[in-house]
Amino acid sequence: MSTHVAQQPASRHKLVALAGNPNTGKTTLFNALTGYRCRVGNYPGVTVDTRSGQIRSEYGLTPLTLLDLPGTYSLAAHSADEAIVLDALLGELADVDVPDVIVIVIDATNPRANLFLVSQILELNRPTVIALNMVDLAQRSRVHVDAERLSLRLGCPVIPIVATKQKGLALLCQAIDEAVESPSVSMGLDWPYPVMSAVESMHDGLAPVANGKDRSAFNAELLQTLLGDGGYHEQRWGMRCGEDFRSLLREQRKAVVDNGYSLASIEGDVRYAWIDRLIAETVKRDEGRPTGTAKADQILTHRVLGLAILAILMGACFQSIYAWSTPIMDAVDSAIAAGGEMVSAWLPVGPLQSLIVDGAIAGVGAVLVFLPQIVILFLFLAVMEDCGYMSRAAFLLDRWMGLIGLGGKSFIPLLSSFACAVPGILATRTIGDRRARIVTMLIAPLMSCSARLPVYMLFIGAFVPDSQLLGGVIGLQALVLLAMYMVGTVVAILVAMLAKRTILKGDPQPFLMEMPPYRWPKVRTVFHRAYEQAREFCVSAGTIIFAVTVVVWALGYYPHAESIAIAHEAQRQEIVSAHGAAVSQIEQANDIAEDGNTVALDELDLQMNTQLYRIDQDEAGEYLRQSVLGRMGRWIEPVVAPLGWDWRMGTAVLAAFPAREVMIATMGTIYNLGENVDEQSVGLREKLRSSRHPNGQPIYNLPVALSIMVFFALCCQCGGTLAAIKRETRSWRWPIFTFVYMTTLAYLGAWVTFVVASRLFV
């Protein structure tokens, strides 16, 4: 629905919309103009949402707000991200005004392909400025675009720029400034009479419900509705006006077709005929241009070689995540531990100290430890994207993804999901086929995200023997880790196949993707991308995870009955006085030699400290058992017993449902270790190994550990993921479905693992 406010006060910032094909440098220009850093990538569809920023004052005379739109080849909406563009340009997007000026970024190295969108946008008759970007590359590839003549022919300014070097931006902003005041441009295309008349008839039919839309803009929308068979605009009008609209549309389409025009190609025919005339006048190109991209593609898109290189790249990526992040993780870890100790020393013992040290620092800290891994993973993805390799990966894998009913475009969202499912789910916006998109969202959370890694590390470190296989080529521990990644992937494949055959049936859409020219990744772009991710991650750690941790802490701390403290204090008193008695006894026995004396005293001290420590542990354990969390744990014990878990494990898993990162922190609290427990902490590992049932049986062994890991591999313990699915599908149905199916699979998987492993290993 339109929420556009018709008249603004004069002082309002003018709104400038940035449109263009993917990979034309829109994001780079946006960043250069606003000084605001956002994600840039040499991969179609990276800008999946609109974002806005203020143009830096050094460029603009009047204050301008810049709105970045997703890259698109055409205003015809085939996928979710494309639908946004026309809506935004027409001012039909919620909370966004009609733009005062539209800036179209075009790639000077390939003007013909870019002018299609230009001709569509110019027909909206809005003030428009064209930013002719990448003139540096165009010069190198000997494509010469006569900007002045093009400007004359189009009736709007055409400003040559180099977005990466910030060249021409002042002129561009001046043109934008002037365009705000200038009257709308107009241009003439040779639309065949039957098409014009069909649009007119639809205009007349729908005018009563069009509530005062601008005529040219409305006609442009109607043209896309007329020609876009089954498209987004048709669906939207159909929902608004029902059968009346549908019969009108059918009638008008029939009129066009009966006159011998093809709905699919008429727009292309008309516009490209116009473009070719324009190109003949304004573009000169020399043959024999450099072909670095072609050479690289001979290897990189080769069916066998290309796939091998892709596999090596992925292997290197995961290897580097483990190898490089460990030392950094350790450093972060000790910093957090030091922070906790400092705060402990400062604050008096009590709920406040416990909240800050055990709750906030331990919980959020346990999450921040993954920051290095996430940064490394995103650096890797950013490089692959920025150099243009990502679409090649999608190309190579299209056939393989086809085997499970998905297309190559699903590969990138799934790959990103190995870092975190949330950006993965956002990246599905580039998948045009709605069913394939939903299937991709459903299985994205099964990819082993980085938050699962610490859980695997903890349990593998504690329970899987550190033995070498195949003569030292691979360690058993690494193999189990790999197996955990495989569990999720294999299950995802099965779920996708099943979903595509049942609830989301439909032929996959054929692959269609631009392969952008290879470019050297820009260091700045790549680092900013990683920085953005890191910031987002820290913000989520600081908010949601922090909130969950505090709740878990409170449930585990209260009611904190006084009686427990009194009972344990009495025991401590007893031990201390017994110790005192023993010491004085020894001291009275003067005949013992000096040396022997101190040894005996030291031994007594040690004995007392051990006893006191045990009482502290007991006390903390008692508090926990009496706490709300402990009671909840008891209550769910029968449910988790078949999986081989005890109540503590059940509680930690329960607490980890909003965010699985919470699990280690909760385990730490539960095992009375309080602060800073993560998978590297030998303490928690030892504790898990040595914890015993009342009958002396160990609580944890290999089968239990495997069962827990399989549960984590398959379970959807992530509120962020479910919220993202809800937002993207605009319904509760899919997040609920995802949660239910994954939790069920996780439970069954953990149970089968425990039963089978118990047979094999015990």
Partner: protein, 80 residues
């Protein structure tokens, strides 16, 4: 130019060039391809064969799945 009816992209080998004669209006994705420039008279070059294949149109490399390959009809003459 000897017309032998439309050829399909699948008959092109790497390095072959051809002109688009029409796109098959009845297939899904036809408009998408037309918008990208696959219209009557456009010149294309096969860069990598297969399913999907890569063709060059203007200065753009486009990966096309099998379904899209069949939508694009080529004029009979080859070897520009």
């Amino acid at each position: 130019m000897v017309s032998q009816g439309g050829r399909s992209l699948r008959q092109l080998r790497v390095g072959d060039s051809a002109y688009v004669s029409a796109i098959d209006n009845h297939r899904t994705g036809a408009k998408r391809l037309a918008d990208l420039g696959f219209v009557d008279g456009a010149s294309i070059t096969m860069v990598r064969c297969g399913k999907p294949c890569i063709v060059r149109i203007d200065d753009r490399l486009v990966g096309l799945g099998l379904g899209h390959q069949e939508v694009i009809l080529l004029s009979a003459a080859s070897g520009l």
